[in-house]
Symmetry: C2
Subunit: 411 residues, 2 copies
Amino acid sequence: MTTANATAFTRLTTAEPVLVDVRPAGEVVPGMTPQTILTSGAPLPWEAYRGGQRRAILHAAVYEELAADPEEAEAAIRAGWIPIGACHEHGCVGSVAGIYTASMPVLVVESARHGNRGFCNLYEGESRKRLNYGVFDEEVRRGLDYLGGSLGPLLGAAVRRAGGIPLVPIIRRALHMGDELHSRNTAATLLFSRELFPALLELAGDGWDDEVRDALRFLRDADYFFLRLSMAAAKTMADAAHGVAGSSMVTAMTLSCREYAIRVSGLGGRWFRGPLPTVEAKLFEGFTEDDIEWIGGESHITETVGLGGFAQAAAFGLQAYQGGGPEAMVANNLAMYDITLGEHPDFKIPYLGFRGSPTGIDVRRVVATGVVPVIDGGLAGKDGGQIGAGVLKAPLACFIDAARALGPAAG
Amino acid sequence: MTTANATAFTRLTTAEPVLVDVRPAGEVVPGMTPQTILTSGAPLPWEAYRGGQRRAILHAAVYEELAADPEEAEAAIRAGWIPIGACHEHGCVGSVAGIYTASMPVLVVESARHGNRGFCNLYEGESRKRLNYGVFDEEVRRGLDYLGGSLGPLLGAAVRRAGGIPLVPIIRRALHMGDELHSRNTAATLLFSRELFPALLELAGDGWDDEVRDALRFLRDADYFFLRLSMAAAKTMADAAHGVAGSSMVTAMTLSCREYAIRVSGLGGRWFRGPLPTVEAKLFEGFTEDDIEWIGGESHITETVGLGGFAQAAAFGLQAYQGGGPEAMVANNLAMYDITLGEHPDFKIPYLGFRGSPTGIDVRRVVATGVVPVIDGGLAGKDGGQIGAGVLKAPLACFIDAARALGPAAG
């Protein structure tokens, strides 16, 4: 490993992400104005956004009361009054369309070692209708209002009362309990809930009874709740490793409705763009591959730090959700050791004899082997809503471009 | 499968065990008098009890205030004033020495389908000092007093308020989360705690604040808490299948300080006894195999219903605790399909493509194949306390005797 990559790898694996607060995005996300809307993917000109991602942005403006309707929102975006930003460039990571508006509560995660922060907004709940799938109606609005008006403030109060909640211990244990922290977060959600419970109990005694009862119900039904924490933790880890001169380690991978893109530690803010990923899908009853629509997604920040597809062999239960058999999952997982810089010192995979997960994607190794990152992902449908899940493969093109920009290894 | 075995298998797999209450043993356990002490294993004459199991029985008499000291306890036992019973003959299952006295709170589990009840007392906590390892001092007494005076009554109130807690859904999920429900119960304990939270929250509001806070702390540190629920559920399932004329299915396996023994569905209350099991152990630092002492144990009621060693491939995390590699665990698990009557309809193993766990040990198949049940077990030391864990193998002799007593299969 080059010195630069060793530095990047160590910064990533020692970041110690801690959930320190839950606050409205407008209060904590860098560069966020009351009008800003963030969305998934490397930045695109407004005209390029299409389908569910475009609808999600327009609906977000209406939800935030920046515009009365989508037409007015579109005019305000074209006029530049509503700026559209890329999540990754604001310390955030987006789920699917990845919409952030100023009023939405975000999980505030901080690296205890390096001090940098990563953010993710809250899981919208189990309903198939979600703003992040480009759907907006009264039900979606009520859901977002619940997050902003009740769950967010309660979680913030609980987390502050608990003095912060370290996330690596939860992730480490969850990997021994069938989660890979991208498409499976069942154990992590439970472990996190348990950490929160003493503070929730105190808050219930302090007059938050209704909020606590509602939160328990929400958390009980939300096996995916921790995904947003896993994402914010991963963003914090990856950003801590960004900007190491000469490092060929990937620090961000992102999807918009148009393209896949990556960012590399030693190559500054530049995005290397490629085509949309290929996918082996398991679709819900009644859907075909023709129904899949790409509307963005950045949850694979987890793969960027050695989780998700890079820890598939920790989560055989995923078969039921995303298809594939145990042998394929093990093979997928093992292949990732060929393109990564090292093994994570804390994230261990029981089936692999507690071997550390393959961590730190090296663009040069991807190009040399032709092996691309595997990603556990949810799939969106043309009419909005999730229609299945599967294993995605990142396009080789962006890794080739990044390797070219890096030039030969310095050794 | 013979009709008799099909009946037994179906009764076992459809028992629907539900935790309905937590009560002092003296109030609910059949045949329990204020003086009765129950212990693990097929019944033995008093003279035969030795070592840690003998000490545990004597200490139990002192703890229950039936005697002032072990000498007085021994005299009372010899005089017949303190009857010693076998847990299994009272609807109970014992952990290690398996001590029950009348004041000890027990989990009351009831079959929603068949109406029979199974019981297990509460986990003593993470301390290596436990009455069930033959150790008794002020710390052990305080621990038992906490269970009887605080945790037990609180759990009883919470369970009644929740209207009972069905256990199969928890076990089913936990198998997808790295538990095999004998030596690993981490996920099940979390899932159970979550079921309890709403009732605990209400009880905290009703003046049980201190008990709730203490219970949360106890549950937080007690990854093994659910084992007792798993045991009581398994006992309920196994007893539901006991007494089917002609059935060669094992309905109980038990260990005392002297011997291994099994009971068979179609052979009434008769115990078939054999030598102590063989073991592949992973001992805690500083101990050798010479330090192992057999002081009883019935937690392998879980293996009797398709859990524990029969679901090892669901719990690769166990390697860290009991040794062995993933391949050996898979091989152990697969071998159990050769000696069981069927696959459990609810207990599925993700790594085996969600195949149902091998369930219902058939004494005839054990004898025909020479394959004996594998058991995930904790190991006790000569000076009291747990000194490690490992994979135990039941002795073939008791299966041969039982097969002989059954005679040829009726078909």
